[in-house]
């Protein structure tokens, strides 16, 4: 047993971070935010960025090498998705990743694939080429496209005024017809959901780690009452709890990427959702009035964390599943041998 990332894994993470710093730096994020906010409901996911993410392997890295992938596993995918969460990369990252190898163009980022997981909301519908329907026992796929009815095969699509400015959403009220779209044969729907859930958790983890860094940086530099606010115990303790929450979520997310059991993935999502939302709230509170302004990034983390919390197993579902797992001895019985 060696739970720590290998040196290859650490190098992969560092590469992902460097790639995102170059290809999606902060000013790029802010331009996206302002453009999207100005456009309103008009969806304009950056396809150049998407293709670059595809070329960098964000979607294909788990595909076998003969299918153009890197033959890596979920631990590696989780590490790079953590970096994507930290950089607040917009778009249906998890859906496109799990669609790689199933939907043409997903692996290399030529196609934007979004997903509808049960009744609820679907992100970036107007920019998408395809919609995965993952709420049922089998996975189906629908074509999607631009225009007033971005997914003509869906019964109703109601555009929302998006809470997170870089995540346009449509609401799909009510259940879908069971025969909607084309069935993807040979695909394990539960496995696909598990993967997407964990990749979403990894993004939440990255966001939580980033708001922790932002809070600590601010606490070191912002002076009030003649000293850095980080010298006040109230501020110190908030930062300490942010770190503890992030570390707990990280343990959960990394372990789930290794074991991929249903209950560990739920634990990972639950803890990462909580870390992302609460860290963003704490970061905002520590920034005071500045944190409440549009120009600060912290609200972007909070809003994205709120969106991801509702995607791929919201907390209430995760908690119910984790409770049930206790009755089955949920991973407590010896497993290692």
């Amino acid at each position: 047993m060696d739970f720590r990332p290998t040196s290859d894994q650490q190098a992969l993470r560092a590469t992902a971070r460097r790639f995102l710093a170059a290809r999606f730096p902060r000013d790029r994020l802010r331009r996206t935010v302002d453009a999207d906010a100005a456009a309103g409901a008009d969806d304009r996911l950056d396809r150049g960025l998407w293709r670059a993410l595809g070329e960098a392997g964000f979607f294909s890295l788990r595909l076998p090498e003969k299918e153009g992938g890197a033959g890596l596993g979920m631990p590696e995918a989780v590490l790079v998705f953590e970096e994507a969460g930290r950089a607040l990369v917009p778009g249906p990252m998890a859906a496109t990743h799990v669609a790689a190898g199933l939907v043409p163009g997903a692996a290399d980022g030529a196609a934007v694939v979004t997903a509808l997981d049960g009744p609820g909301v679907v992100e970036h519908l107007a920019s998408a080429d395809a919609v995965l329907l993952t709420g049922g026992p089998t996975v189906h796929v629908l074509p999607a496209g631009r225009g007033p009815r971005p997914a003509p095969d869906l019964p109703t699509t109601v555009p929302l005024r998006p809470l997170d400015p870089t995540t346009p959403l449509h609401r799909i009220p009510g259940p879908l017809p069971g025969d909607a779209g084309q069935r993807l044969t040979g695909t394990d729907a539960q496995q696909l959901r598990l993967h997407a859930t964990l990749l979403t958790a990894a993004q939440q983890l990255g966001s939580a780690a980033r708001t922790l860094d932002m809070a600590v940086e601010h606490a070191r530099n912002r002076k009030q009452f003649g000293r850095p606010i980080g010298a006040f115990q109230a501020v110190q303790h908030v930062c300490s709890r942010m770190l503890a929450r992030t570390d707990l979520a990280r343990s959960g997310v990394y372990a789930a990427s290794v074991t991929m059991t249903v209950s560990e993935v739920s634990a990972a999502k639950l803890l990462a959702d909580e870390a992302a939302v609460r860290n963003a709230r704490d970061c905002l509170q520590l920034h005071g009035g500045m944190g409440f302004s549009w120009e600060a990034d912290v609200h972007l983390h909070l809003k994205r964390a709120w969106v991801r919390r509702e995607q791929w197993q919201p907390p209430a579902q995760a908690e119910e599943l984790l409770a049930l797992a206790l009755l089955d001895d949920g991973g407590i019985a010896p497993r290692n041998v």
Partner: protein, 385 residues
């Protein structure tokens, strides 16, 4: 990232499991909770059995009498013994987890030879004399002082919250040897024989009604200078070398036990009808996530055991203790809501555990102190005011 056993680890696990299966049925029945001499005998008997089977001091260095096992193997030991329901370390806690490792790290060869084998064999029991009534969270404010008279320190003062004091042979003692020095200087680490004249042990009753702790009153107790480990006035550093020694994994067995309790709670809820309450179910689910992740964090810390301890890694023990102590309190608060009025029975084991869990956010550094440590040492925030 790998969470599966290597071949060696699997062999170790299977061999240990087999030994536990054969050995545990041969143990005598556990003694009554308040019979301290019987408990000492029981705990030392178990330690002797571990010693004879080659499991004592598993991860201690070989030159200290240990087996030099990896942290991962040690964690397997903690996990399997807890799962099998083996006895706790009990009276040997201080010897095995603190005084012993301190002597191993800082003692002379003669000191190691004198004390370590007896700890590993379960022949001698140690207790800890660090805390004082006036120096709680502020440990360095300790006042018990030692005056050197020839080859002897003459020690006077008092210590508090000492476990197993009634049945201990030795006490690892922090005393002030230079009252003029700054707070953290001028402290020395001594091994005090509990049988020395002038040592009085007074039981301390906790809010749980038990007497597992004692107060030590020391009235001109003589301790030979040769019983000092480390240099004179260097005792603060000596004790800190190992105070965080096991923080990352010290609670490994407890986390395993909490996960078992949580599964018991779920079954109890299913049987008593409380399972129908989604608000209770969801709390149980949340606790499952927390304790699953705490177990994974324990494994992480075990694997990172010999990594350089800088930045956030240096405070991983504090992070774990902060999270675990609160999760444990939440666990037993949830148990009380699950039991309803039955939780008002102090005889119920979950109620007893609820009471004792109240000390977890206080003992060995309060949650407030842990958060200071994390902020200043882990996050590099300016020294708190």
């Amino acid at each position: 990232m790998d969470l599966t056993d290597t071949e060696d680890e699997r062999d170790f696990r299977l061999r240990l499991r087999d030994w536990l299966r054969r050995t545990l049925p041969t143990l005598p029945p556990p003694p009554p909770a308040h019979d301290w001499p019987a408990r000492r005998a029981y705990d030392c008997g178990w330690q002797r059995a571990l010693y004879d089977a080659g499991y004592a001091g598993l991860h201690w260095p070989t030159e200290a009498g240990g087996h030099g096992a990896t942290p991962a193997v040690h964690l397997i030991f903690l996990e399997e013994t807890e799962r099998a329901g083996a006895p706790y370390v009990g009276a040997n806690f201080v010897g095995l987890l603190h005084a012993g490792p301190t002597i191993a790290a800082e003692g002379t060869p003669a000191q190691r030879a004198r004390w370590l084998p007896a700890i590993l064999r379960g022949d001698e029991v140690w207790c800890q004399g660090f805390s004082e009534p006036e120096a709680g969270s502020d440990l360095a404010a300790l006042r018990t002082w030692a005056v050197r008279e020839d080859d002897t320190y003459v020690v006077t003062g008092s210590k508090i919250w000492t476990s197993h004091a009634e049945v201990a042979d030795w006490c690892e003692l922090l005393v002030r040897t230079d009252s003029a020095a700054p707070r953290h200087k001028g402290i020395s680490w001594l091994a005090m024989p509990m049988s020395a004249p002038g040592v009085t042990v007074r039981p301390l009753r906790t809010l749980a009604g038990s007497t597992e702790f004692a107060e030590l009153v020391l009235d001109r107790v003589s301790v030979p200078v040769g019983h000092r480990v480390g240099e004179e006035n260097d005792g603060w550093r000596v004790s800190m070398v190992t105070l965080s020694f096991e923080r990352g994994t010290a609670f490994a067995g407890e986390v395993v036990a909490c996960r078992r309790t949580l599964a018991d709670m779920a079954r109890t809820a299913r049987d008593n009808g409380r399972w129908d309450d989604s608000s209770l179910r969801r709390r149980l689910g949340r606790l499952n996530a927390q304790f699953t992740a705490l177990w994974r964090m324990t494994q992480w810390h075990a694997c990172a055991g010999d990594a350089p301890r800088t930045g956030a890694a240096a405070v991983s023990g504090s992070v774990f203790k902060l999270l675990y102590s609160h999760a444990r309190q939440e666990l037993y608060d949830t148990a009380a809501d699950l039991l309803g009025p039955a939780a008002l029975d102090a005889g119920h084991p979950w109620t007893a555990a609820r009471l004792s869990s109240l000390s977890y956010t206080i003992a060995a550094g309060t949650s407030q102190i842990q958060q200071n440590i994390i902020a200043e040492r882990g996050l590099g925030l300016p020294k708190g005011r």
